[in-house]
């Protein structure tokens, strides 16, 4: 051997050797496979949908027409109220007489006081995407019809889930006051969120689901499972905060899943967003052996106004 031999250079030369082309048959096989393979639906952080001007005008026009139609329909009855515009004074948060305290101890009281639902009977279909008007929208989660009122402006339907099966609402994206709300149902949580190993499905009981949420590794319980009332029905509320040291990137940290919507081979699952800052509040309502799952994701920087805004939405839920 000569003194000019450089082992590292030889190693790099060795690594440079070899095939560098994928045969066409591999591309063809992939193409054939993806035509048969459904993409996994993932519910996670999303962005405000980009709307072109035509879409904005169309939505604005539709809103004007809707308001006009509702107004005309209500005029003859006189004195009728329409569930649009700013929230009524009664929706301000205050200690709720309807909330049933949990029998379990509550080391940190819930920031989500429960209020009785408001009587706002007018309801429209929840749009797949776009900015939402301040009005009542209908859903039919797991075949359970209910409605929810968007009480303040600037909420957006993100289109991740489309009513009547569910809905996703976002507001204040990319700010400390960001809120995401999801209306859907889930089957279970992840036993190993970073390993993406799901725990077995949980019964539809609100108590079991709330307990499962409180048990997810990587989370600290902010509010333990607590008895509350949503839409006049008994429900559970639980709040958890994602720890800073979750052990993997947030997008790899899976929280809970829904087998029904996507099929058990490819469950929809929720992933994490902001370790150390993200708070997930979940309300679970049991109805006829099924459940409605309503969740709100906020940062720990959420102001009392933001918290109140979400609570107003929860308080507005009505079951038919």
């Amino acid at each position: 051997m000569t003194a000019s031999r450089d082992p590292d250079r030889l190693i790099r030369a060795f690594l440079d050797e070899g095939l560098t082309e994928l045969p066409d048959r591999a591309y063809d096989a992939v193409r054939a496979d993806i035509d048969r393979t459904r993409q996994r639906v993932v519910i996670g952080p999303w962005r405000e949908p980009r709307m072109n001007n035509i879409a904005k005008l169309a939505i604005a026009a539709a809103a004007v027409v809707a308001v006009a139609v509702v107004g005309i329909n209500l005029m003859p009855s006189g004195g009728g109220t329409v569930g649009t515009g700013s929230p009524s004074p009664s929706s301000r948060p205050s200690p709720s007489p309807s909330a049933s305290p949990s029998p379990s101890p509550q080391p940190s009281p819930s920031p989500w006081p429960s209020l009785p639902p408001e009587p706002t009977p007018q309801a429209g279909a929840f749009p797949a995407e776009g900015r939402l008007a301040t009005e009542r929208y209908t859903f039919s989660q797991s075949g359970i019809p209910f409605s929810l009122e968007v009480t303040t402006p600037d909420w957006i339907s993100s289109g991740v889930m489309v009513a009547p099966d569910g809905g996703t609402l976002t507001k204040n994206e990319a700010t400390p006051q960001k809120v995401w709300m999801l209306l859907w149902s889930i089957d279970g949580v992840y036993a190993d969120p970073c390993g993406q190993v799901p725990a077995p499905p949980v019964s539809p009981s609100a108590a079991d689901l709330a307990a499962a949420v409180a048990s997810i590794p990587g989370y600290d319980v902010v509010t333990p499972p607590t008895d509350v009332t949503v839409g006049g029905l008994p429900a559970k509320h639980v709040a958890v905060k994602l720890r800073e040291d979750i052990g993997c990137s947030p997008s790899q940290f899976f929280m809970w899943y829904d087998n029904v919507r996507c099929g058990s081979a490819a469950p929809c699952h929720r992933w994490a967003n902001a370790p150390g800052r993200q708070i997930n509040d979940v309300w679970i309502v049991e109805v006829d052996g099924k459940h409605i799952w309503i969740e709100a994701e906020t940062f720990d920087t959420a102001t009392a106004e933001t918290v109140q805004e979400v609570q107003q939405m929860i308080n507005s839920v009505q079951f038919e």
């Binding site: 030369a13 193409r31 993409q39």
Partner: protein, 184 residues
């Protein structure tokens, strides 16, 4: 361009994904070949990785990070392919290198043989780090990010792998009449 294809593919556009796959497939093949040292295994791993990428594409948050994300999937596919095949046969075929020799005349057939044998004694995890750092030329921090492992792990694997490969060449210097036994 790639970002636009990713965006379209995320919305379920198979044509866009096909174009995307063709834009990154060769590089994936090169990586897989070097980790697995077997063209057939590498082809299977790339195919698996691309199909997984399609299925999981909606979990990709940043479309600009498609290729790093794909490389992580590919590396895992390589590990899985290696484990799966090892159950069937301990005899991994040698990657065909005829026709690709000789860009660097300092690498003799004997060097290559020594390096090949030393390389095959590395774990697949060590090989992956070596390929991403020395073949793709990524800094160790990017290798850590791409493989989703701690920086210290990258450094230790790299250190071990390079030490082993250097040792194989140095041993060759000391004992030039090394056995030409068939590689496992």
């Amino acid at each position: 361009m790639q970002r636009a294809l990713v965006d379209r593919a995320k919305r379920g556009d198979g044509e866009a994904f096909d174009a995307l796959a063709r834009s990154v497939g060769d590089r994936c093949m090169a990586i897989a070949c070097r980790i697995l040292r077997d063209a057939d295994l590498a082809e299977d791993a790339v195919q698996t990785a691309l199909i997984t990428a399609w299925r999981e594409l909606r979990t990709l948050r940043d479309p600009d990070r498609f290729e790093p994300w794909l490389h992580r999937i590919l590396t895992n596919a390589c590990y899985a392919e290696a484990r799966r095949r090892r159950r069937w046969s301990a005899d991994i075929r040698v990657i065909p290198v005829e026709g690709t020799y000789g860009p660097d005349e300092t690498l003799t057939v004997h060097d290559r043989d020594q390096l090949e044998r030393a390389f095959r004694r590395l774990t697949f995890e060590q090989r992956a780090v070596l390929v991403f750092h020395h073949y793709l030329g990524l800094p160790v921090s990017e290798v850590a990010d791409r493989l989703d492992i701690p920086l210290g792990t990258v450094k230790s694997r790299l250190h071990y792998a390079m030490t082993a490969l250097r040792a194989s060449l140095e041993a060759d210097d000391r004992t030039p009449s090394i056995s030409q036994e068939r590689m496992a």
